[in-house]
Symmetry: C2
Subunit: 348 residues, 2 copies
């Protein structure tokens, strides 16, 4: 009978609870790091007005997450607060403003993980969920499962009375233009007449960028991570990248670190980016910064590009990327707010 219990618990949808990670001793330091995608955008292509918009939205998301932590809230609540703001902004490739797939619709992936319980949740290929990161959390907390894909994930959302958005809620003119350009290039390539114009550069570089994510450390010393994306412009065949893959795009473990990744998802899955950073801390005793650097070097050696944010339970952080820039920001107790886009440090 005892042997049957685990089966029954899962079959009947009990939420996960078991724990092996030790909860860290409460830290006096708390705060969060966010990203809005890596791979951007040469300085000469981003107008001052546009840059100001990005900085404002990053700051808003950062402050929303920080406010949760400041009032003693949980790391995962801070992650949700920050990521939903980035999802709701048309500037980033997640939620509203996501890139369009080959069928001209937005297909969204997200995941979350909690460092204390090693609980995790993920959704992939949803089309009508305003905040996929919220659904990923509900998968973790209310389904007894870790990952749901496609229409099934939306059926689960309906059982929780999620509002189903019309597909065009997510779409912007900018993303429609990107899709059109991607299809033109694809056709040209098919005719063996690919003549890439320099003016295509801006659009092309943005095809697969803009994933958003957050890692947070709360006053109780608990870590959490979350990531959300629209994936890759003109993607076909239900392609899924690293964002909803626990251990690739997202990972959190109080004993090591919380990680959220952004970049060329295929390489990030193969390198197992988020988990590789944690594993170096666990098994080789490396710092979060050393580990993040080594992992991104591996991604680069494979041929991939992008970046990661990572945070350990003492508040040490890494923002590592091998692309020209990464939208990123952090805020911690006793420190000024930091917001940056390009490779070099920038002032808030």
């Amino acid at each position: 009978m005892t042997r049957l219990l685990p089966c029954l618990l899962l079959l009947l949808g009990t939420a996960i609870t078991p724990v092996f990670a030790k909860s860290s001793a409460p830290s006096s330091k708390y705060g969060l790091v966010i990203h809005g995608g890596a791979g951007v955008i040469a300085r000469d292509e981003l107008t001052p007005a546009r840059e100001a918009e990005y900085r404002a939205r990053l700051a808003e998301a950062l402050d929303a997450g920080y406010a949760v932590l400041e009032r003693g809230g949980a790391a995962l609540d801070a992650v949700l607060a920050a990521v939903t703001i980035l999802e709701d902004s048309p500037l980033f490739n997640a939620g509203k403003g996501s890139v369009l797939n080959a069928d001209g619709i937005c297909e969204l992936d997200a995941s979350v993980m909690e460092g204390r319980t090693l609980g995790a949740g993920a959704v992939a290929g949803v089309h009508r969920i305003k905040n996929p990161v919220r659904l990923a959390r509900d998968v973790m907390e209310k389904s007894g499962h870790v990952m749901m894909v496609g229409d099934g994930a939306e059926q689960f959302a309906r059982t929780l009375d999620y509002e189903m958005m019309a597909p065009d809620y997510f779409q912007t003119d900018h993303r429609r233009q990107q899709l059109q350009k991607a299809k033109e290039l694809e056709k040209a390539k098919a005719k063996k007449s690919a003549a890439l114009q320099p003016e295509d550069a801006y659009l092309l570089r943005q095809f697969k960028w803009g994933t958003v994510g957050c890692v947070a450390l709360d006053q109780a010393g608990n870590l959490a991570a979350g990531t959300s994306t629209g994936g890759m412009t003109n993607k076909k065949y239900g392609r899924v990248g690293d964002t909803p893959i626990i251990g690739a795009g997202t990972y959190a473990n109080n004993a090591t670190c919380a990680v959220s990744a952004t970049g060329w998802g295929e390489y990030f899955i193969r390198a197992g980016v988020a988990r590789d950073i944690s594993a170096q801390m666990e098994y080789a005793g490396r710092s979060v910064a050393e580990a993040a650097r080594a992992t991104m070097a591996k991604v680069g050696a494979l041929g991939g590009d992008g970046g990661v944010i990572a945070l350990d339970a003492r508040g040490n952080l890494a923002m590592e990327f091998n692309s020209p820039g990464m939208y990123r920001a952090h805020r911690f107790t006793g420190q000024a707010r930091f917001v940056a886009i390009y490779a070099e440090p920038a002032t808030p």
Copy 2:
């Protein structure tokens, strides 16, 4: 322009090629390990005739994979040869004979990975593909992507002229009975009148077991891994377990090991089982056996059960499980064929 090339290559579907893992020095030893699921089956519930069937099918798959290696074939080809035989057998929860989801259809997941290139491919939630492991390989080699889910993955298969099977090709009476029993139990639970009968034990224990997989080492010293499953009886909402998650159910890296897992997928994702074994070898210098044991202890501490097979580039292997048994077999140069089901070693 150089910066655009990676975008274009992916957009236009070029297969992955970059490599960072060193190819191991050719080993004189080659061979493979397979599993047909963990979690089985008390000795008194498996009739001698049924046990003989399982053993025969495991031996057939093993020999098919070994024949590939013996004639100098690639590890990944051996994995495909073995896993497709297990998929085609109604005995295992993969391909034909898969468990039924809540809608009464088989929903299949699979993945593969190559240790030399760190190339990987996965499909999740397909309904009409006879050998999902073959499609996972085609995703790796022909799509430029790593993971495809649902109808999209089947559209990709159509572009490669895959035969689409009728959904009832996959179904067996045994699995239909399991689904019926699972639904009865679910209803009883909903009415708060769950009275689990001892005779339900056999069916219940098999609800989530029977995933198949293979790890192989070829004469050139290359490793590969593959895993295939029908998931969990009565699963809903597009639930996906660890099988198609690179780093959870499947991983291969010539520098460390090849791994295929089977068990309660939610725990295997959270523990990142396959990658955790590799990481211990890479960062803590543990042997494949030590690493597999430590990882399965973590799964157990979380509350999960199941097992793994793992193989390093020198032919050292691990078959570790915390369930009453695991269908497993291996065959290596200069060694007798080994086939076992229960916890204790068994003769071929």
